[in-house]
Symmetry: C2
Subunit: 182 residues, 2 copies
Amino acid sequence: MSERYEIRFSGSGGQGLILAGVIFAEAAAIYDGKNAAQSQSYGPEARGGASKSEVILSDDTIDFPKATSIDLMLALTQEACTKYCGDIKDGGTLLADEDFVRDIPNGNFKAIRLPIIRTASEDVGKAFVANIVAIGAIAALTGRVSREAIEKAVLSRVPKGTEDLNRKALAAGYELVERRTN
Amino acid sequence: MSERYEIRFSGSGGQGLILAGVIFAEAAAIYDGKNAAQSQSYGPEARGGASKSEVILSDDTIDFPKATSIDLMLALTQEACTKYCGDIKDGGTLLADEDFVRDIPNGNFKAIRLPIIRTASEDVGKAFVANIVAIGAIAALTGRVSREAIEKAVLSRVPKGTEDLNRKALAAGYELVERRTN
Protein backbone atom coordinates (compact mmCIF):
# COMPACT_ATOMS: atom_id res chain seq x y z
CA MET A 1 0.00 0.00 0.00
CA SER A 2 1.47 3.33 -0.92
CA GLU A 3 -1.45 5.49 -1.91
CA ARG A 4 -4.11 7.09 0.22
CA TYR A 5 -7.16 4.91 0.90
CA GLU A 6 -10.42 6.37 2.20
CA ILE A 7 -13.14 4.40 3.99
CA ARG A 8 -16.52 5.78 5.13
CA PHE A 9 -18.71 3.92 7.62
CA SER A 10 -22.33 5.05 7.38
CA GLY A 11 -25.63 4.06 8.91
CA SER A 12 -27.68 5.44 11.75
CA GLY A 13 -26.67 6.79 15.15
CA GLY A 14 -26.24 4.02 17.69
CA GLN A 15 -24.77 1.51 15.24
CA GLY A 16 -21.25 2.07 16.55
CA LEU A 17 -19.85 3.68 13.41
CA ILE A 18 -17.39 5.94 15.23
CA LEU A 19 -16.08 2.97 17.18
CA ALA A 20 -15.73 1.04 13.91
CA GLY A 21 -13.68 3.90 12.45
CA VAL A 22 -11.51 4.18 15.55
CA ILE A 23 -10.85 0.42 15.60
CA PHE A 24 -9.94 0.35 11.90
CA ALA A 25 -7.60 3.34 12.26
CA GLU A 26 -5.95 1.92 15.38
CA ALA A 27 -5.49 -1.46 13.70
CA ALA A 28 -3.71 0.20 10.78
CA ALA A 29 -1.60 2.59 12.84
CA ILE A 30 -0.92 1.08 16.24
CA TYR A 31 -0.68 -2.55 15.18
CA ASP A 32 0.32 -2.38 11.50
CA GLY A 33 2.60 0.67 11.59
CA LYS A 34 0.78 2.69 8.93
CA ASN A 35 -0.49 6.26 9.10
CA ALA A 36 -4.18 6.71 9.77
CA ALA A 37 -6.61 9.53 10.42
CA GLN A 38 -10.10 9.01 11.77
CA SER A 39 -12.74 11.69 11.83
CA GLN A 40 -16.38 12.66 11.94
CA SER A 41 -17.78 15.99 10.97
CA TYR A 42 -21.16 17.33 11.84
CA GLY A 43 -23.07 20.11 10.17
CA PRO A 44 -26.52 21.52 10.73
CA GLU A 45 -27.94 18.21 9.48
CA ALA A 46 -26.36 16.33 12.40
CA ARG A 47 -29.69 15.82 14.12
CA GLY A 48 -30.92 13.64 11.26
CA GLY A 49 -30.94 9.89 11.33
CA ALA A 50 -27.97 9.28 9.05
CA SER A 51 -24.55 9.11 10.62
CA LYS A 52 -21.01 8.55 9.36
CA SER A 53 -17.40 8.26 10.31
CA GLU A 54 -14.30 8.11 8.16
CA VAL A 55 -10.86 6.60 8.10
CA ILE A 56 -7.95 7.50 5.85
CA LEU A 57 -5.03 5.11 5.56
CA SER A 58 -1.69 5.96 4.04
CA ASP A 59 1.96 4.98 4.12
CA ASP A 60 2.83 8.66 4.26
CA THR A 61 1.88 11.43 6.64
CA ILE A 62 -1.73 12.48 6.13
CA ASP A 63 -1.79 16.22 5.59
CA PHE A 64 -5.42 16.56 4.63
CA PRO A 65 -7.50 14.36 6.94
CA LYS A 66 -10.89 14.83 5.29
CA ALA A 67 -12.27 12.09 3.05
CA THR A 68 -13.14 13.55 -0.34
CA SER A 69 -12.84 10.62 -2.71
CA ILE A 70 -14.08 7.49 -0.98
CA ASP A 71 -12.52 4.16 -1.97
CA LEU A 72 -14.98 2.06 0.04
CA MET A 73 -18.22 3.10 1.69
CA LEU A 74 -20.18 0.95 4.09
CA ALA A 75 -23.93 1.68 4.25
CA LEU A 76 -25.99 -0.03 6.95
CA THR A 77 -29.17 1.95 6.25
CA GLN A 78 -30.96 3.13 3.13
CA GLU A 79 -30.98 6.74 4.35
CA ALA A 80 -27.21 6.81 4.86
CA CYS A 81 -26.61 5.06 1.55
CA THR A 82 -28.68 7.56 -0.39
CA LYS A 83 -27.27 10.56 1.47
CA TYR A 84 -23.58 9.74 1.41
CA CYS A 85 -22.81 7.53 -1.59
CA GLY A 86 -22.19 10.51 -3.88
CA ASP A 87 -18.65 10.83 -2.54
CA ILE A 88 -17.60 7.34 -3.65
CA LYS A 89 -14.90 7.73 -6.26
CA ASP A 90 -15.18 6.32 -9.76
CA GLY A 91 -14.38 2.64 -9.54
CA GLY A 92 -14.79 2.62 -5.77
CA THR A 93 -16.84 0.15 -3.76
CA LEU A 94 -20.18 0.43 -1.97
CA LEU A 95 -20.67 -2.25 0.68
CA ALA A 96 -24.39 -2.18 1.47
CA ASP A 97 -26.37 -4.16 4.00
CA GLU A 98 -28.40 -6.68 2.02
CA ASP A 99 -31.63 -6.27 4.02
CA PHE A 100 -31.57 -2.63 5.04
CA VAL A 101 -30.40 -1.10 1.77
CA ARG A 102 -32.85 -2.11 -0.94
CA ASP A 103 -32.14 0.65 -3.47
CA ILE A 104 -28.58 0.90 -4.65
CA PRO A 105 -28.24 4.40 -6.14
CA ASN A 106 -26.77 4.74 -9.59
CA GLY A 107 -23.11 5.56 -9.68
CA ASN A 108 -19.84 4.56 -11.21
CA PHE A 109 -18.95 2.22 -8.37
CA LYS A 110 -19.09 -1.48 -7.63
CA ALA A 111 -21.88 -2.46 -5.23
CA ILE A 112 -21.53 -5.44 -2.91
CA ARG A 113 -24.48 -6.51 -0.80
CA LEU A 114 -23.89 -8.58 2.32
CA PRO A 115 -26.27 -9.49 5.19
CA ILE A 116 -24.19 -7.70 7.82
CA ILE A 117 -26.92 -6.90 10.34
CA ARG A 118 -28.65 -10.27 9.91
CA THR A 119 -25.33 -12.06 10.46
CA ALA A 120 -24.79 -10.06 13.65
CA SER A 121 -28.25 -10.70 15.03
CA GLU A 122 -28.82 -14.28 13.86
CA ASP A 123 -25.40 -15.94 13.54
CA VAL A 124 -23.49 -14.07 16.24
CA GLY A 125 -26.59 -13.44 18.32
CA LYS A 126 -26.44 -9.69 18.99
CA ALA A 127 -27.43 -6.99 16.50
CA PHE A 128 -25.17 -4.46 18.21
CA VAL A 129 -22.04 -6.22 16.91
CA ALA A 130 -23.00 -5.39 13.30
CA ASN A 131 -20.22 -2.78 13.35
CA ILE A 132 -17.66 -5.48 14.16
CA VAL A 133 -19.06 -7.82 11.48
CA ALA A 134 -18.68 -4.88 9.08
CA ILE A 135 -15.06 -4.33 10.13
CA GLY A 136 -14.29 -7.99 9.33
CA ALA A 137 -15.97 -7.74 5.94
CA ILE A 138 -14.19 -4.48 5.07
CA ALA A 139 -10.81 -5.80 6.21
CA ALA A 140 -11.33 -8.88 4.03
CA LEU A 141 -12.52 -6.87 1.02
CA THR A 142 -9.73 -4.30 1.12
CA GLY A 143 -6.79 -6.36 2.38
CA ARG A 144 -5.34 -3.09 3.69
CA VAL A 145 -4.86 -4.09 7.32
CA SER A 146 -3.69 -7.46 8.66
CA ARG A 147 -6.19 -9.70 10.38
CA GLU A 148 -3.95 -9.89 13.44
CA ALA A 149 -3.92 -6.09 13.72
CA ILE A 150 -7.68 -5.87 13.30
CA GLU A 151 -8.26 -8.49 15.98
CA LYS A 152 -5.93 -6.75 18.46
CA ALA A 153 -7.60 -3.40 17.81
CA VAL A 154 -11.10 -4.85 18.27
CA LEU A 155 -10.18 -6.56 21.52
CA SER A 156 -8.52 -3.43 22.92
CA ARG A 157 -11.64 -1.32 22.34
CA VAL A 158 -14.65 -3.50 23.19
CA PRO A 159 -16.04 -3.72 26.73
CA LYS A 160 -14.47 -6.28 29.05
CA GLY A 161 -16.49 -9.49 29.02
CA THR A 162 -17.57 -9.14 25.38
CA GLU A 163 -14.30 -10.34 23.82
CA ASP A 164 -15.62 -13.72 22.64
CA LEU A 165 -18.74 -12.20 21.16
CA ASN A 166 -16.71 -9.63 19.27
CA ARG A 167 -14.14 -12.16 18.10
CA LYS A 168 -17.01 -14.22 16.71
CA ALA A 169 -18.51 -11.14 15.03
CA LEU A 170 -15.21 -10.29 13.41
CA ALA A 171 -14.74 -13.83 12.11
CA ALA A 172 -18.30 -13.80 10.75
CA GLY A 173 -17.51 -10.63 8.81
CA TYR A 174 -14.43 -12.20 7.22
CA GLU A 175 -16.47 -15.30 6.36
CA LEU A 176 -19.17 -13.28 4.60
CA VAL A 177 -16.54 -12.12 2.12
CA GLU A 178 -14.67 -15.41 1.90
CA ARG A 179 -17.86 -17.39 1.19
CA ARG A 180 -18.77 -14.92 -1.48
CA THR A 181 -15.50 -15.05 -3.35
CA ASN A 182 -14.81 -18.79 -3.15
CA MET B 1 -18.96 32.44 18.13
CA SER B 2 -18.01 33.11 14.58
CA GLU B 3 -14.41 32.09 14.20
CA ARG B 4 -12.86 28.65 14.19
CA TYR B 5 -11.99 27.25 17.63
CA GLU B 6 -9.65 24.29 18.07
CA ILE B 7 -9.50 22.05 21.14
CA ARG B 8 -7.04 19.20 21.71
CA PHE B 9 -7.61 16.57 24.40
CA SER B 10 -4.35 14.84 25.35
CA GLY B 11 -3.21 12.30 27.91
CA SER B 12 -2.60 8.58 27.77
CA GLY B 13 -4.50 5.79 26.03
CA GLY B 14 -7.40 4.56 28.14
CA GLN B 15 -8.30 7.98 29.54
CA GLY B 16 -11.28 8.32 27.20
CA LEU B 17 -9.92 11.20 25.14
CA ILE B 18 -11.64 10.16 21.90
CA LEU B 19 -14.94 9.87 23.73
CA ALA B 20 -14.35 13.33 25.23
CA GLY B 21 -13.79 14.75 21.76
CA VAL B 22 -16.85 13.01 20.33
CA ILE B 23 -19.04 14.26 23.19
CA PHE B 24 -17.80 17.84 22.82
CA ALA B 25 -18.33 17.79 19.06
CA GLU B 26 -21.80 16.25 19.36
CA ALA B 27 -22.77 18.79 22.03
CA ALA B 28 -21.78 21.63 19.72
CA ALA B 29 -23.30 20.21 16.55
CA ILE B 30 -26.26 18.01 17.45
CA TYR B 31 -27.53 19.99 20.43
CA ASP B 32 -26.22 23.54 19.82
CA GLY B 33 -26.55 23.68 16.02
CA LYS B 34 -22.93 24.59 15.26
CA ASN B 35 -20.50 22.93 12.90
CA ALA B 36 -17.98 20.57 14.45
CA ALA B 37 -15.29 18.18 13.29
CA GLN B 38 -13.72 15.61 15.53
CA SER B 39 -10.61 13.64 14.63
CA GLN B 40 -7.60 11.65 15.69
CA SER B 41 -4.58 10.96 13.60
CA TYR B 42 -1.99 8.35 14.22
CA GLY B 43 1.52 8.18 12.86
CA PRO B 44 4.35 5.76 13.45
CA GLU B 45 4.57 7.06 17.04
CA ALA B 46 1.04 5.78 17.78
CA ARG B 47 2.32 2.94 19.93
CA GLY B 48 3.73 5.41 22.47
CA GLY B 49 2.01 6.33 25.69
CA ALA B 50 0.77 9.76 24.67
CA SER B 51 -2.61 10.00 23.00
CA LYS B 52 -4.75 12.84 21.66
CA SER B 53 -8.01 13.73 20.01
CA GLU B 54 -9.18 17.01 18.55
CA VAL B 55 -12.33 19.02 18.03
CA ILE B 56 -12.85 22.00 15.78
CA LEU B 57 -15.88 24.21 16.30
CA SER B 58 -17.12 26.80 13.83
CA ASP B 59 -20.21 28.64 12.78
CA ASP B 60 -19.27 27.92 9.19
CA THR B 61 -18.59 24.72 7.29
CA ILE B 62 -15.24 23.26 8.30
CA ASP B 63 -13.23 22.71 5.13
CA PHE B 64 -9.94 21.80 6.75
CA PRO B 65 -10.64 19.49 9.68
CA LYS B 66 -7.11 19.22 11.08
CA ALA B 67 -6.18 21.24 14.16
CA THR B 68 -3.11 23.33 13.41
CA SER B 69 -3.40 26.26 15.78
CA ILE B 70 -4.83 25.06 19.06
CA ASP B 71 -6.94 27.47 21.11
CA LEU B 72 -7.16 25.20 24.14
CA MET B 73 -5.23 22.06 24.93
CA LEU B 74 -6.03 19.69 27.75
CA ALA B 75 -3.08 17.67 29.09
CA LEU B 76 -3.77 14.91 31.60
CA THR B 77 -0.22 13.53 31.59
CA GLN B 78 3.25 15.07 31.55
CA GLU B 79 4.26 13.07 28.48
CA ALA B 80 1.29 14.31 26.44
CA CYS B 81 1.80 17.87 27.65
CA THR B 82 5.45 17.93 26.64
CA LYS B 83 4.81 16.18 23.33
CA TYR B 84 1.79 18.12 22.10
CA CYS B 85 1.82 21.61 23.60
CA GLY B 86 3.92 23.05 20.78
CA ASP B 87 0.79 23.42 18.64
CA ILE B 88 -0.97 25.76 21.08
CA LYS B 89 -1.37 29.10 19.36
CA ASP B 90 0.05 32.33 20.76
CA GLY B 91 -2.30 33.50 23.46
CA GLY B 92 -4.00 30.10 23.65
CA THR B 93 -4.69 28.11 26.80
CA LEU B 94 -3.10 25.00 28.28
CA LEU B 95 -5.34 23.24 30.79
CA ALA B 96 -3.05 20.85 32.67
CA ASP B 97 -3.81 18.34 35.36
CA GLU B 98 -2.44 19.78 38.59
CA ASP B 99 -0.98 16.51 39.90
CA PHE B 100 0.09 14.68 36.76
CA VAL B 101 1.65 17.60 34.89
CA ARG B 102 4.37 19.08 37.08
CA ASP B 103 6.44 20.83 34.39
CA ILE B 104 4.61 23.36 32.31
CA PRO B 105 6.71 23.85 29.17
CA ASN B 106 7.61 27.37 28.16
CA GLY B 107 5.37 28.87 25.55
CA ASN B 108 3.36 31.93 24.69
CA PHE B 109 0.17 30.52 26.19
CA LYS B 110 -1.79 30.81 29.40
CA ALA B 111 -1.46 27.77 31.68
CA ILE B 112 -4.28 26.75 33.99
CA ARG B 113 -3.74 23.89 36.43
CA LEU B 114 -6.72 22.05 37.86
CA PRO B 115 -6.92 18.78 39.84
CA ILE B 116 -8.98 17.00 37.20
CA ILE B 117 -7.97 13.40 37.90
CA ARG B 118 -8.02 13.89 41.67
CA THR B 119 -11.51 15.39 41.46
CA ALA B 120 -12.67 12.38 39.44
CA SER B 121 -11.19 9.81 41.79
CA GLU B 122 -11.79 11.51 45.15
CA ASP B 123 -14.82 13.78 44.78
CA VAL B 124 -16.78 11.84 42.15
CA GLY B 125 -15.35 8.50 43.21
CA LYS B 126 -14.11 7.01 39.92
CA ALA B 127 -10.86 7.95 38.17
CA PHE B 128 -12.27 6.86 34.80
CA VAL B 129 -14.64 9.84 34.68
CA ALA B 130 -11.68 12.25 34.53
CA ASN B 131 -12.54 12.78 30.85
CA ILE B 132 -16.03 13.97 31.81
CA VAL B 133 -14.67 16.24 34.56
CA ALA B 134 -12.36 17.67 31.89
CA ILE B 135 -15.28 18.28 29.53
CA GLY B 136 -17.06 20.27 32.23
CA ALA B 137 -13.97 22.35 32.95
CA ILE B 138 -13.33 23.02 29.25
CA ALA B 139 -16.96 23.93 28.60
CA ALA B 140 -16.83 26.36 31.53
CA LEU B 141 -13.49 27.86 30.47
CA THR B 142 -14.39 28.34 26.83
CA GLY B 143 -18.09 29.15 27.02
CA ARG B 144 -18.36 27.81 23.47
CA VAL B 145 -21.07 25.21 24.03
CA SER B 146 -24.12 25.49 26.26
CA ARG B 147 -24.24 23.50 29.47
CA GLU B 148 -27.54 21.95 28.41
CA ALA B 149 -26.00 20.71 25.16
CA ILE B 150 -22.95 19.30 26.94
CA GLU B 151 -25.13 17.47 29.43
CA LYS B 152 -27.31 15.96 26.71
CA ALA B 153 -24.27 14.84 24.73
CA VAL B 154 -22.64 13.26 27.79
CA LEU B 155 -25.79 11.36 28.72
CA SER B 156 -26.31 10.10 25.18
CA ARG B 157 -22.79 8.61 25.00
CA VAL B 158 -22.04 7.10 28.42
CA PRO B 159 -22.99 3.51 29.29
CA LYS B 160 -26.49 2.93 30.63
CA GLY B 161 -26.48 2.89 34.42
CA THR B 162 -23.63 5.42 34.73
CA GLU B 163 -25.71 8.53 34.07
CA ASP B 164 -25.66 9.84 37.66
CA LEU B 165 -21.94 9.28 38.01
CA ASN B 166 -21.26 11.13 34.78
CA ARG B 167 -23.66 13.97 35.61
CA LYS B 168 -21.78 14.40 38.89
CA ALA B 169 -18.42 14.33 37.07
CA LEU B 170 -19.57 16.98 34.63
CA ALA B 171 -20.84 19.24 37.43
CA ALA B 172 -17.53 18.79 39.28
CA GLY B 173 -15.65 19.96 36.18
CA TYR B 174 -17.76 23.12 35.93
CA GLU B 175 -17.23 23.75 39.65
CA LEU B 176 -13.45 23.51 39.37
CA VAL B 177 -13.53 26.49 37.04
CA GLU B 178 -16.25 28.40 38.87
CA ARG B 179 -14.49 28.10 42.24
CA ARG B 180 -11.28 29.29 40.63
CA THR B 181 -12.73 32.41 39.05
CA ASN B 182 -14.93 33.52 41.93
